[in-house]
């Protein structure tokens, strides 16, 4: 049996090899450079007044470099997502239904559904909020999204789930910091995700809007603790508008995916764009807004991108290290 070179792994990399799986610092060199893209989920682009990702790509190929498809296996892929994939345009797979820290959640039926969607989308990687996507089992009325409990004991189970999903799919799995109004635990969110990334030997997806929510709730300044993050593991960024809310004297930020960025979010995004030396992809989350409304936000984010993150769509390159 021929031993593959570290940079020559097949699509099913990491599964059942009798030799050591390369470190993420090696594996990340295989990840394509996707540039600036847009997100969607089942039915989102079909709603009245919502963004049509294909129309965005036709109008501004540099803004619609790839599509991040939010997938709940019970719903599957909608027609626009399938059409995008059929055109051979780049995608990433954003899970919406897996509690990574619960081994029971990676059940055979769900994994079969994931593999079917991967076969259709051919995503560059998997990613998604590393939080609680459902209570009890996956069932009607039981889907939600809560952040992980930020304690040392949460790190191991979450890292195990990331490794297990990576091995089951052969694709990198990038955990994302989830949104929330209640963060429980004694670790800073970024320290927690730094530990998870180390334990799972994985890359990270940093959602700048979600981080702004956390910082505001904890009474931190937007950039507090950002040095805790292993920036060479940050592969993808999310940027989105949020809405400041208040009720009974309690203040929080709602993850609205609107087109108006909060200053905190933009400060984090600018910092991240400078520090994330291995960044491959940036998503502007704005799926429920019309094309004309989102263009200024895309223009602003595109102008802040480092030069190497502005590929011509269709020319996605392997690697992208600086």
């Amino acid at each position: 049996m021929r031993r593959p070179r570290d940079g020559d792994l097949p699509a099913a990399r990491g599964i059942g090899y009798p030799w050591r799986v390369p470190d993420f610092s090696v594996r990340r060199e295989l990840l394509p450079l996707l540039g600036l893209g847009v997100s969607t989920e089942y039915g989102a682009s079909l709603a009245a007044g919502a963004l049509d990702p294909a129309a965005l790509r036709r109008a501004r190929p540099d803004f619609g470099g790839f599509l991040e498809v939010g997938v709940e296996i019970a719903k599957g892929l909608d027609a626009p997502a399938k059409a995008w994939a059929a055109a051979g345009w780049p995608t990433t797979y954003h899970f919406l239904d897996i509690n990574l820290d619960e081994p029971e959640d990676l059940d055979p039926a769900w994994l079969a559904g994931v593999r079917d969607c991967i076969a259709t989308l051919k995503p560059a990687w998997l990613c998604g909020d590393a939080g609680l996507w459902h209570f009890g089992r996956r069932d009607r009325g039981q889907m939600l999204l809560l952040p992980p409990v930020l304690i040392a004991e949460s790190v191991g189970p979450l890292a195990e789930g990331i490794r297990a999903l990576r091995e089951a799919t052969g694709l990198e799995v990038l955990p994302e910091n989830p949104p929330g109004s209640a963060f429980v635990g004694d670790l800073h969110l970024l320290e927690f995700f730094a530990r998870v990334a180390e334990a799972a030997d994985t890359g990270l997806l940093l959602d700048c809007a979600h981080l702004a929510m956390y910082q505001r709730l904890q009474g931190h300044a937007p950039l507090d603790g950002l040095d805790l993050l292993p920036w060479d593991r940050v592969i993808e960024l999310h940027v989105a508008g949020g809405r400041e809310r208040s009720d009974g004297g309690f203040h929080w930020i709602e993850d609205e995916h609107g087109v108006e960025l909060l200053p905190d979010t933009w400060a984090i995004a600018e910092f991240a764009l400078r520090r994330a030396s291995q960044l491959r992809a940036v998503i502007v989350e704005c799926e429920r807004n019309p094309l004309s409304a989102v263009l200024p936000l895309f223009t602003r984010v595109a102008a802040a991108l480092p030069e190497r993150l502005r590929p011509v769509p269709g020319d996605s390159q392997i690697g992208g290290g600086v």
Binding site: F135, D139, G141, L146, V149, S181, F183, V184
Partner: protein, 258 residues
């Protein structure tokens, strides 16, 4: 500390204000160690209730699955389930909220609850448990039910009364009176009902012979063919035709091999 226990407590705090009060109260909270509880108490309790409609959405999901039961007991009673031990067990044990609601209902919605709980189970078929080779069991698309007389008519009338917007109707009008209840004697006024889940996800509900329903209920546990033939004879089949009865039920999917 147990992160899963904490996460489950957070879910309950987001749905159940009574549980929030318990976490902040003086008494111990079952399933939570004191250091875990201290972490929860360190967060502003208002942070758990920013989504004002989370509990209402859970009620809505239950009403969509149990519309006629909800009409029988009212929205306030449906809402109370979310503070019940059965809901807590669902959160803790990777359960199904709909199935847990059916368990919690017990006899509150009488035969209507029996029917809609059976529908909830048929929508969530479990893999057949391994049994001795050749054992037969009631088909996974069918549920044989015994309910108080008049239940089926009340079910259909109430579905029509609810219309397409059951939640709105219940919010506007409250519970619908007249739910048929079981009589004082065990065999008084029973209706035999057969529920079938169609391939398209719909449900067919109708009366069936008592013999068929009781035979299928006997087959709710894996049974040998001989035992089922004997039960068929007990239920009125001629001995020489019992084998043919079982063959017919197998052909129709009412019985299946385990």
């Amino acid at each position: 500390m147990n992160p899963r226990a904490l996460q489950q407590a957070i879910v309950r705090m987001m749905i159940d204000p009574a549980f929030v009060a318990a976490v902040h109260g003086r008494r111990p909270v079952p399933g939570l160690a004191e250091d875990e509880r201290a972490l929860l108490r360190a967060v502003d309790r208002r942070a758990f209730t920013t989504d004002r409609f989370r509990r209402a959405r859970a009620v809505q999901a239950l009403v969509e699955e149990y519309p006629v039961s909800a009409a029988a007991i009212g929205l306030a009673a449906v809402d109370a389930f979310l503070s019940a031990p059965e809901f807590a067990a669902c959160v803790a044990d990777r359960g199904s909220m709909a199935l847990a609601f059916g368990t919690w209902l017990k006899d509150q919605a009488s035969g209507i609850g029996v029917i809609e709980a059976a529908m909830a189970r048929l929508r969530r078929p479990e893999p057949l448990a391994a049994a001795s080779p050749g054992a037969l069991i009631c088909g996974p698309r069918f549920a044989p039910l015994l309910v108080p007389d008049g239940t089926l008519a009340w079910y259909e009338a109430t579905l029509a009364w609810l219309g397409r917007h059951a939640l709105q109707r219940l919010a506007d009008h409250g519970p619908r009176p007249g739910l048929p209840r079981r009589g004082l004697t065990r065999r008084q006024g029973e209706e035999c009902v057969l529920l079938e889940a169609r391939a398209d996800g719909g449900m067919d509900l109708g009366t069936a012979s008592e013999a068929l329903v009781r035979l299928l209920r006997f087959a709710s546990q894996p049974r040998s063919r001989r035992a089922l033939e004997a039960e068929a004879v007990t239920r009125g089949a001629e001995a020489h035709e019992a084998g043919e009865v079982i063959d017919d039920l197998l052909a129709g999917g009412l019985l299946v091999e385990t």
